[in-house]
Each structure stands twice: as structure tokens, then as C-alpha cells.
Symmetry: C2
Subunit: 235 residues, 2 copies
DNA sequence: AATTTCATGTAATTCGTTACATGATTCC
DNA sequence: GGAATCATGTAACGAATTACATGAAATT
């Protein structure tokens, strides 16, 4: 019964904290906006939503009314009054308990939080995370990666002679990737240390752009934006 | 029943092709030597081995100390001298059919072969792969990644304004990782195209061509698979 | 003698997908 | 009016893990 996915649950709560949504949209956000998350299927998402409702963290609201979303062009559907109403587009909204629970998840840094996908999920909601927690997560992740590097180096030293060039190259590239992420984390940690606190954005996201003063905030990287209004998600 | 993991099966076959092993050691090789593979647990590995045996691709041989061929039920005397009784350490050996099957898997480039873990597994056995297949895999992987990049760019362009700095940074780092892998693939492809494989950080210059007749650029492929043991004790 | 490491397995559980159903709305 | 997309769900299956159980060999 309990489809407690951990990361899915966390991500859903986090997204709904920003604004209520229905399942279909939620899934798109999971796939595209958060970029990192692998595509969860409906078979995963909907049951998960149900358990979250059962836990009291979400409530379902019927929302057939297109008042909230853009009523694009004329030619409207005939009758607005719906006795046999439109099929309920269920919008999920975070309850107070849900909010509290999410808050708790945010501040809880278990040893799971350093793993690949877990870490990405945590990071994606850093905007709503306290600074000291952010620090713990970043440093935890870093030492997790350093452990991994240690093992890779040891293994490489042990087996170097017996492996063919391709296997060696694969390991080399893998190690370089990890090293690269460590450097990235170093930058982030440094940036957290020297920068001033980054706000916990309210659910109504006030996208206040930080001053490019360079004494705080995230490290600035080059920005490549091709104007490309392409169609969206994978299938 | 059919614990057909795909990548686990492939990796097991590939490792056993190099030399027979028992499960415990196999698992270690899976985790450390191949570096990339995530750690499969015994609960996954042993059942998998059984299905491979049932398929006729592997045979189990009792092994232990050289002289001893005692069956599993043996476990007698265990007395003084060098006559033994190790608990049946089951060594798995590739059958001729298994070899054939692995060969087939190697040359079969389905659209699965471009995915992350699948690709890593394929690459790990490039030493035993024909050059044109290597090319297909590398190029397939590259275009897979380029697709992914396209989507990320598009998604980023669409949502840039609404995302906070951390989410943006996460996406940026993710994209850079993908771009980096594309560059890596470009190098590899170039290297394949121009014949000999020469990459940095490989202490062995090691240009030795031991594949007769074809595909000039094969890195050293050591084939220490013993000749077919003509035994019909296979299950 | 006791502990660790090697070695093999099984049962229950977790996490997630595919394929299947259904229906409403919008685009052409 | 037909296709595509939006929208919600369920049942069956798949892949892999964890926890459990066992036992032999090497190390201390």
C-alpha cells in the first residue's frame, strides 16, 4: 500500500508548496522543470498522491473551472453550469500538516541525503532550505563523493595492469566526473560560506534577483541561452 | 523466474568470458573492477546465475582446491592433510552457447544500448567488440545525449524566469555534465576513426595488435578463455 | 576460542514501469 | 467529426534491495 518513494514524495510536496497543481502538470514539472529527476510515470505518481492525501498532507480539490488557467480564444464551451460536471480535474493543495511535514523533511539530513538522486532532489529545493542545512547537505555529499573517489583510486591501483584500455578509460572518465562534481561542491560551499543567506522564498514566489555584487550568492557561470521555443517533453 | 536484468546478465557473461569465477568474486568484479556498475547484491546475482545456467549459457562446476572434485554432498573427512573439503565453491563457466549468446548481445545495438547504464556496460566490454559496433554504440550514445541537451535547453529557455537560483544552478551543472560527456565521446569517436587508440593517462603505450586480419584499431584484447571443455555435464 | 571474511542462498519488500482502460477538451 | 493532447486511474509485472539464514575458512 504505502508507495513511499522518498524522493517522489519529497518532490511532490516541494512543488505543491509553491503552488497547487493537478497530477498531469505535476508530472511535467517533475520531468522538465526540475530537469534532474527522471521521468516518473503516472502509475507511480497517482498512487503516490493518494497516499499523500491519506496521510493528510494533501487535499484534493475539484477544479473544473478554467478561470485559473488561460481561457485562450473565444468559441467557448456552451454551458458553464455543470450538473453532470466535467470530469473532475483534481487539484492538489498542500495542507498545513503537509507543509509542516515538508519542513521537517527539509531539515532532516539522514545519510540517504547524500546519494545521487536524493541529493539532486534536496538541492532542487535549496531555495526553501535553511542555510545550515544546506551546508550539511553539501558537505555530506562532498565527503560521500570523496569516499567514492578513494575506492575508485584504490581499485584502479590494484587492477590497473589487468584491464584493457577501454575499461581503463571508462574508469578514468568516471573518476574525472566525480572529481568535477567535488570541485563544483567546493565552489558552492565556498559561496555559501562567504555569501549572505539566500531567502526562503514564499510559496508565492517573489523572484527577486540577487544583486550581482559578487560578494555573495552562487558562483556565476556563463550563460548560454539559445532562443528556442521548442515543444516540450519526451513521451 | 526470469530474472532477466539485461545489464547484469550481459556483464556476468562478459566477465565469465574472460575467465570462470564463482559468485562472490563475480560480484566484487562487478562493483570494483568495472567501476561504473552499481553494486548488485547477492540477492540479485545468485538468482541471475541460476537462470543463466538454466538457459544453458553457464555451467556450474564445483571447485576449490585443485585436486578436489568432490560433489556438494561430499564434505566428509576434512581431516589432516591436504585432501579437502572446501564447501562447494561453485565456479561458473561460460558454455559454447553462452559464448555465442554473448557474441550476439555484443553485436546487437538496440535503442536501449544508448541509455546510461546500458552504455557503460557496453563500453566496459569494448575490448571484445567489433569496431563498427563500437562506432554505432558511441554515435548512438552521442546523439542520445544531444537529444537530451536539446530538451534541457528548451526547458531552460521556457522556465528560466520562474526558477530560483539553486534550481537554475542545478540545471546548468547538469547540462555541463552532458556537454562534457559529448566532448568525451567526440574524442573517442575521433580516436576510433583514426585507428589507434591513444589517450592520456594510460601508462602503457601498448600498441599490440593481436586481432588477426581486421579492424586495425582494436585495443589489446586478451582472450584467456580456456578452450571449450568438452563436457556434457551441463544441466 | 572468537571474530572476521568468504561463500551461498531464500523470502519479503520496495520502488517503479508498461500496458491497459476511460473520458474530456482542443485543434484542424 | 476525427486526431491529438489533456487527464486520471488500475493491474500485472519487473528489477533489485534488505533482512534473514547458513556454514566453512582464515585470522587474531
Amino acid at each position: 500500500m504505502s508507495r513511499r518513494s522518498g524522493i517522489l514524495e519529497f518532490a511532490v510536496l516541494g512543488l505543491l508548496r509553491e503552488s497547487p497543481m493537478h497530477g498531469y502538470e505535476l508530472r511535467k514539472r517533475l520531468n522538465t522543470s526540475l530537469g534532474i529527476f527522471r521521468a516518473f510515470s503516472y502509475g507511480t505518481l497517482y498512487p503516490c498522491l493518494k497516499t499523500l492525501v491519506a496521510s493528510g498532507w494533501l487535499i484534493e480539490e475539484p477544479a473544473g473551472d478554467p478561470a485559473d488557467t488561460a481561457p485562450v480564444t473565444g468559441r467557448s464551451t456552451a454551458s458553464s453550469s455543470s450538473l453532470t460536471g466535467r470530469r473532475a480535474k483534481i487539484v492538489y493543495r498542500l495542507t498545513a500538516e503537509g507543509k509542516e511535514h515538508f519542513e521537517e523533511l527539509l531539515s532532516h539530513t539522514g545519510p540517504d541525503a547524500w546519494e545521487d538522486e536524493h541529493f539532486a532532489a534536496r538541492f532542487a529545493f535549496f531555495g526553501q532550505t535553511e542555510r545550515d542545512v544546506r551546508m550539511r547537505v553539501l558537505e555530506g555529499r562532498r565527503s560521500r563523493l570523496e569516499e567514492r573517489l578513494e575506492k575508485m583510486r584504490a581499485s584502479l591501483a590494484r587492477t590497473r595492469e589487468r584491464l584493457d584500455d577501454y575499461t581503463l578509460e571508462l574508469q578514468r572518465h568516471g573518476m574525472e566526473s566525480v572529481e568535477r562534481e567535488v570541485r563544483w561542491l567546493n565552489e558552492l560551499i565556498e559561496s555559501e560560506r562567504s555569501g549572505r543567506d539566500r531567502r526562503r522564498s514564499s510559496p508565492e514566489g517573489s523572484a527577486q534577483q540577487d544583486t550581482p555584487g559578487e560578494t555573495g550568492g552562487l558562483p556565476r557561470h556563463r550563460d548560454n541561452t539559445p532562443p528556442d521555443p521548442s515543444d516540450d517533453t519526451a513521451k
